[in-house]
Amino acid sequence: MKTEVEKLREEFRRDTYWTRINISSDDDSKKTTVLVCASHEYLWDLFEAREIEQVKFDVWLDKVVKKWEAMKEEVFNAPVHYDVYANTKEGMENGDKFLKEEVKP
């Protein structure tokens, strides 16, 4: 299984961070994309951060990647997956809407 993680982007219009994780089988016969976003509030609370330097984006993203890689073959059951991290139910819904309507797989 091969995994390529795109650069984490900041979306000011949603106060969020997002990226794409592209996963393919070793022979490239199966592919899937995971669209991931996390709210500013979620990430800052996760690391109890006051400043951006205290937010370990790599540590968080690494855990997300491992979660999807652990699905092994099952991950290829859908061409696109959406993975949202937020503190509130509405944040989850807004993140999902953002990934589905404003981010292209």
Binding site: R14, D15, T16, C37, T88, N94
Partner: protein
């Protein structure tokens, strides 16, 4: 002469945005009719009945159903743009919901919050005090006079709040608001275009503050009193007023700190 249209927003306590908002738009008398006409033109351009009120929430008006969500969103954005193009200013007051809600145990022993009448009244008085004082300072800067148009007070507290407003004027005991023409005028704002515009502004601010919601602040950030290239720092305590100023608990300090940081981030664009 300036008119300050004040209303309340986000009263219900929920997890979406934990602050009560009061205040609104300051409009020059020469612009009220222009803005009102522009809103009517926007309605016409979308084939919407002129009488139909435009508000932030999409609601069933006169049993004719809701607007198409896409059209409603486009109208609201057009309203924000027309405010941005005007010389209108925004002054708002924010205080935590806890300020006027009380926790109690409801049936089934589930912890629920309810609006506490005493706290609600106190929050309303604070909100009125802050908004009127800031409006008076704004008028002093311009060397102009102004008038305040408030949405009707809740009937239960109308008498007390009216008395409170009276006490703030030159003939009242505190003798503070020398630039504001007495009294605070209460209006049922359903039919007035300028009040509809105000509702959209307050709605846009409240909505933008929610987690991962679309951020409308960049469209109207220049309208906040005190706005400059330095962003939120010059708006704080002028266009955006967060209370209580003296914070007693660490939880509240954190909540208000996060609110200020969020405003700061949303104003960047």
């Amino acid at each position: 002469m300036k008119f300050f249209i004040i209303d309340e927003s986000n009263i219900k306590k929920d997890e979406k945005f934990e602050f009560f908002v009061y205040g609104g738009l300051i409009v020059d008398d020469s612009e009220i009719r222009v803005l009102s006409k522009q809103l009517i033109d926007i309605k016409r351009s979308f084939n919407i009945e002129e009488k139909r009120p435009i508000k932030w929430p999409n609601f069933n008006w006169d049993n004719k159903g809701q607007l198409d969500p896409e059209i409603h969103a486009k109208i609201k954005e057009a309203v924000l743009v027309l405010v941005n193009k005007s010389s209108s200013k925004i002054i708002i007051y924010l205080s935590p919901h806890d300020f006027y809600h009380t926790w109690n145990i409801a049936l089934g022993f589930k912890l629920k919050s309810r609006m506490d009448p005493e706290k609600y009244l106190r929050a309303q008085k604070y909100a009125i005090n802050v908004c009127l004082n800031k409006f008076n300072l704004y008028l002093s800067e311009l060397k102009e006079n102004g008038m305040v148009l408030a949405d009707s007070f809740v009937e239960q507290f109308n008498h007390v709040l009216t008395e409170h407003c009276l006490s703030l004027y030159p003939d009242g005991k505190d003798r503070k608001l020398d630039k504001i023409i007495y009294p605070v005028v209460q209006v049922n704002n359903e039919c007035s275009e300028i009040h509809q515009i105000n509702d959209v502004i307050l709605g846009a601010i409240t909505f933008s503050m929610r987690e991962m919601a679309q951020n409308f602040m960049p469209i109207i950030k220049d309208n906040f009193w005190g706005a400059s290239e330095d962003g939120f720092s010059t708006i704080l305590n002028k266009g955006i007023n967060i209370y209580p100023r003296e914070i007693k608990t660490p939880q509240l300090k954190e909540k208000i700190g996060k609110l200020k940081e969020k405003f700061d981030r949303l104003m960047i664009l």
